[in-house]
């Protein structure tokens, strides 16, 4: 199972995403932004960071990269794509997901262990979770505020396209506490928190059992490997 992980200039969490794929049991394939060839991967991860310095708008320049042209095409054909943080921003700029992501309402960068509720398990990235499951995933961003007009929000809620919602605390002012979305087809998922930072015991969020033992993020990567196997 080959999972592509894209690197743009300024991408930061690509190596972490690759590690997450490996820990879950898959093969991580590095994809370069300027190379339109997807190298026969079974799924793609757009990791976090500050691609192209967040210039113009977060993810705006990355969305124009040669690799994104291929990914948009493949996604429209059903290829599973996961956008994490900056990756979510790239998906929104590419119009693979609706809405926009703007500066946190608190005006500062926020790094915290964030409780989320999984609201949709019918995607290749979330099938390992139970509907309504609470997970703790590290969140770290400055432009994570999800916005969309009233009509779009209504549609998202009505069609069950909200994949994750912030619980107990909304860290960035996202409307309707939306932390992540899926597209209609379900193959494209984007979220602001970073599952790749909760995959290895000793390096994830604290839990009541032990310091840094949280591995709720592993579910994302195991899910896609399940769906690739079963595809």
């Amino acid at each position: 199972m080959r999972i592509g992980v894209v690197t743009f200039p300024g991408t930061l969490d690509d190596r972490d995403a690759q590690r997450a794929v490996r820990i879950a049991g898959g093969e991580a394939v590095a994809l370069w932004h300027a190379d339109a060839d997807l190298h026969k991967v079974d799924a793609v991860v757009l990791p976090g960071g500050f691609s192209f310095g967040d210039y113009l708008r977060c993810g705006a320049i990355a969305a124009q990269a040669p690799v994104m042209e291929s990914i948009i095409k493949a996604a429209n054909g059903g290829l599973p794509v996961l956008g994490i943080c900056n990756g979510f921003q790239v998906l929104v700029e590419s119009h693979l997901l609706p809405g926009g992501l703007i500066r946190n309402d608190v005006q500062t960068f926020v790094c915290r262990d964030q409780k989320l509720v999984v609201e949709n398990v019918d995607t290749p990235w979330t099938n390992e979770f139970a509907l309504g499951q609470e997970i703790t995933i590290p969140l770290k961003n400055g432009e994570g505020g999800y916005i969309a007009d009233a009509e779009t929000l209504k549609r998202l809620e009505g069609e069950g396209l909200v994949a994750f919602r912030y619980k107990d605390f909304n860290p960035n002012g996202s409307l309707n506490d939306i932390a992540g979305l899926r597209n209609e087809r379900g193959n494209v998922v984007g979220l602001m928190p970073h599952p790749e930072h909760a995959v290895e015991a000793g390096f994830g969020p604290d839990t009541s059992v032990a310091m840094r033992s949280g591995v709720d993020g592993l579910g994302f990567f195991k899910s896609v490997l399940n769906s690739v196997v079963n595809a």
Binding site: T108, K140, G202
Partner: protein, 771 residues
């Protein structure tokens, strides 16, 4: 006469070497550029003629205090002299290079250093702090390492002064902006508020990097024919005059006397530069590399040549400019960020170009290395610099500044805290505990540290609020490093020799409590003006204290930084030597948290509590008092203690370990229960009995060599036995008790607080002040 002429740099305006030889009596603005008369005379002597404008600019910047360490050199020598062969065993690169490098085993090496960016952070806090981070990270990158973490040590003015918020907001967002964008986890540091830093905030930045032994790079150009290539950002007017003008002169009491261009940083450019450089290193196409920081091109060219005992021929017109109106002198002095200079063998240039092109990094070939130890710089066809590089980079002036025992210090030392009123009733003591743990310096720094990414890289094993930061270096074996930094300006003011040793002891202990073994030291020495003999005395004492301390602990200083001129008018800051200690751990899985997560564990206090409240947080917060002599430091005991902790950790006996320092036991207990929200029941009787101290001392004394640990019931006997066998005083002082809804901290006979109320007191302070 204008020093810097704007407008087109037509060849006929350049002050050439020929012109300099022909016009020996031309008046030159050496004074405005910060040089002393004897220094100017010496330059003329070295060159056998007057310097050209460009040469004058180079010497003025490279011979400034910040670049040449002229006032501190004679004292810094001690760090290289007071060493034993045993101490140097693991040292791969010592002082004098961009950063020290330590062998940590398994073919891995680690490079680390702390540096200051104080004055720019008062002028423009955001960019000052941001470029401070950028600069230290480039130093690490230059050694051939991948930077893996950052930390920062901040000192601001009084919280009630409105200007403090300006500096705090700018500095914290600057560090957040730059560090996060580079993808480096921020794993610790410290923040202190004190009115002595009002006009002179301290922004020290530390970075650490990891490399395989064979990847080590040095900043030298040795092979004639190798190409000199400048790459990264374009050169603009950033920070022109910044180094010599800014850091070597103090501010007037009314405000900064000059506002030259501050450096503006672009962390995206630096992130790209990091990845690009690491690919260049992996391809082995770089023979030597230097980053451009203070003094820009002047520094990079002269240092590379001097270090390689060779020379260089440079064509300055080849420098890619952001601003075409810059004169040659300005180009040489520019401190534009995110630039590196590589020495590339001719045969590797094509491969070099391929890699920089891939990352869309701009570059230009400026010239080549030559055998003759001479630096020739041309502006077009005209020679504007012709100097021996060693005289610029290494043979700068060395001062032996006058030193004077401070007139005020005996009275200060006589004014002990023992005359201060002490509370005796439980209610008053309990109130003082809350006052201490919620005071700005002791309160939670979450408001700041939640603006930093701790996760990126996926290798952070420990970060704030634990005592040291810890990062995994090898994914295969779990090999990792721990770092802690400490300084206490109040102790430094009372006794700079002891103050430096206390900082070293605390950082050493903070590494030991994580389970790692301390191995090496870096330092950032923040002091007032070296032209003040009393400040020089403080500096002399502090460096001796630190050097003697390192010798006693058997760990070498691998590099560091000096920041002088931290004063406004006649008032200097407290001597604030920031000491960073690096430790190694064979497997980060063994790391020890600073607070307890289990109920029913025993709490032990290791070490001896004496009545030592001089310079303490209690004295400052409750009585606004600074006087007496700081706590006694016993380095031999610190070593024993560290070894005992290591042994206990290896045997898996420690569930948590937290060192005691500012705020004493009271602070450590509150931090311990708040770490995971698990309560505790403790008693002070034995502490008071054994140490012959009262409640105030038991709670707030800052005696050194003490650690609070929690141990599982099944490990009690073994643990106590281990301590006793090693001569470590150990007292059982409590049990961990209760979690979630019922959790309390109870100090028997004194008070009991819910965890929630402690949490609000501890965490509310900074958001209320700055949120």
């Amino acid at each position: 006469m204008a020093i810097f002429k704007k407008g087109s740099a037509a060849p006929s305006n350049a002050d050439t070497t020929a012109n300099a030889a022909a016009t020996p009596d031309k008046q030159q603005p050496w004074k405005e550029l910060g040089l002393k008369e004897d220094e100017y005379a010496r330059i003329r002597e070295i060159l056998g003629r007057r310097p050209t404008s460009a040469e004058l600019a180079m010497y003025s910047v490279m011979w400034s205090e910040h670049c040449s360490y002229k006032s501190s050199k004679i004292y810094l020598r001690q760090f290289g002299e007071k060493v034993t062969p045993e101490m140097q065993k693991h040292l791969m690169v010592g002082m004098g290079e961009n950063a020290g490098v330590v062998d940590i085993g398994e073919g891995w090496a680690v490079t680390f250093k702390v540096e200051s960016h104080n004055h720019p952070s008062y002028i423009e806090p955001f960019q000052g702090a941001a470029t401070g981070v950028g600069g230290i990270v480039r130093d690490i990158l230059t050694m051939g390492a991948r930077p893996i973490a950052v930390m920062d040590q901040l000192r601001f003015g009084d919280v009630s002064n409105p200007d403090t918020a300006r500096v705090v907001h700018g500095v914290v967002s600057g560090i957040s902006f730059y560090g996060n964008c580079l993808g480096l986890p921020n794993i610790g540091g410290e923040t202190v508020f004190d009115k002595v830093y009002q006009g002179n905030p301290l922004v020290n930045a530390l970075s650490v990097g990891a490399l395989r032994h064979e990847d080590l790079k040095l900043a030298k150009a040795s092979n004639p024919g190798d190409q000199v290539i400048l790459f990264g950002a374009r050169t603009g007017a950033d920070g022109i005059g910044g180094v010599s003008v800014l850091a070597s002169e103090t501010f007037d009491a009314d405000g900064p006397s000059r506002r030259p261009a501050v450096q503006v940083g672009d962390p995206f450019a630096e992130k790209v530069l990091i990845e690009c450089c690491l690919e260049l290193y992996a391809a082995d196409v770089v023979a030597g590399i230097q980053d451009l920081g203070g003094a820009g091109l002047s520094c990079a060219t002269s240092e590379l040549a001097s270090n390689g005992q060779a020379g260089m021929r440079v064509q300055l017109r080849n420098v890619l400019l952001r601003d075409e109106s810059l004169t040659p002198e300005e180009i040489l002095m520019s401190e534009s960020q995110e630039r590196m200079m590589a020495i590339v063998p001719k045969r590797d240039v094509a491969a070099f170009k391929k890699i920089v092109d891939k990352w869309e990094v701009e570059y230009s070939v400026l010239g080549e290395v030559i055998r003759e130890p001479r630096l020739y710089i041309n502006w077009g066809e005209e020679e504007i610099v012709n100097v021996p590089p060693r005289t610029v980079a290494h043979d700068g002036p060395v001062y032996e500044r006058p030193v004077a025992y401070p007139a005020w210090i005996d009275a200060l030392n006589a004014d002990s805290s023992s005359r201060l009123a002490r509370a005796t009733d439980a209610a008053a003591l309990a109130e003082q505990i809350i006052e201490v743990v919620s005071s700005p310096n002791q309160a939670s720094k979450d408001w700041i540290t939640n603006q930093y990414d701790h996760y990126v890289g996926g290798n952070t094993a420990l970060a704030m609020p634990d005592d040291g930061g810890m990062v995994r270096v090898s994914e295969e074996t779990g090999l990792g490093i721990a770092i802690a930094t400490d300084a206490n300006g109040r102790y430094g003011q009372l006794d700079p020799y002891a103050g430096a040793q206390l900082a070293l002891a605390e950082a050493y202990r903070n590494v030991a409590v994580t389970g790692a073994t301390p191995m090496a030291v870096t330092n950032c020495l923040n002091f007032g003006s070296p032209e003040n003999p009393e400040v020089m005395w403080q500096f002399k004492q502090a460096t001796a204290g630190l050097a003697d301390g390192c010798l006693a602990l058997g760990i070498p200083v691998t590099g560091g930084n000096v920041s002088f001129y931290n004063q406004t008018g006649d008032v200097a800051i407290h001597p604030t030597p920031v000491v960073g200690v690096l430790g190694v751990i064979d497997d980060v899985a063994r790391r020890i948290p600073s607070g307890w997560q289990d109920e029913g564990h025993n709490l032990y206090l290791l070490g001896t509590t004496r009545d030592e409240l001089d310079g303490s947080v209690w004295a400052g917060v409750i009585h606004d008092h600074l006087g007496g002599k700081p706590p006694v430091v016993d380095l031999a005991f610190e070593m024993q203690l560290a070894q005992a902790l290591n042994a206990a950790s290896e045997q898996g006996l420690l569930a948590s370990a937290h060192d005691l320092s500012e705020g004493g036991l009271a602070q450590a207990l509150v931090e311990g229960v708040l770490r995971f929200g698990v309560g505790a029941r403790v008693w002070l009787d034995e502490i008071k009995q054994v140490g012959n101290v009262d409640d105030t001392a038991a709670l707030f004394s800052e005696s050194t060599g003490r650690v609070l640990v929690s141990v599982g019931r099944e490990d009690d006997v073994k643990f106590v036995g281990l301590c006793e066998a090693r001569g470590i005083p150990v007292l059982r002082i409590g049990v961990t008790d209760g979690s979630a809804d019922t959790a309390h901290l109870e100090i028997q006979g004194l008070a009991s607080w819910t965890i929630d109320s402690l949490r609000s007191s501890h965490k509310a302070t900074l958001p209320a002040l700055f949120g």
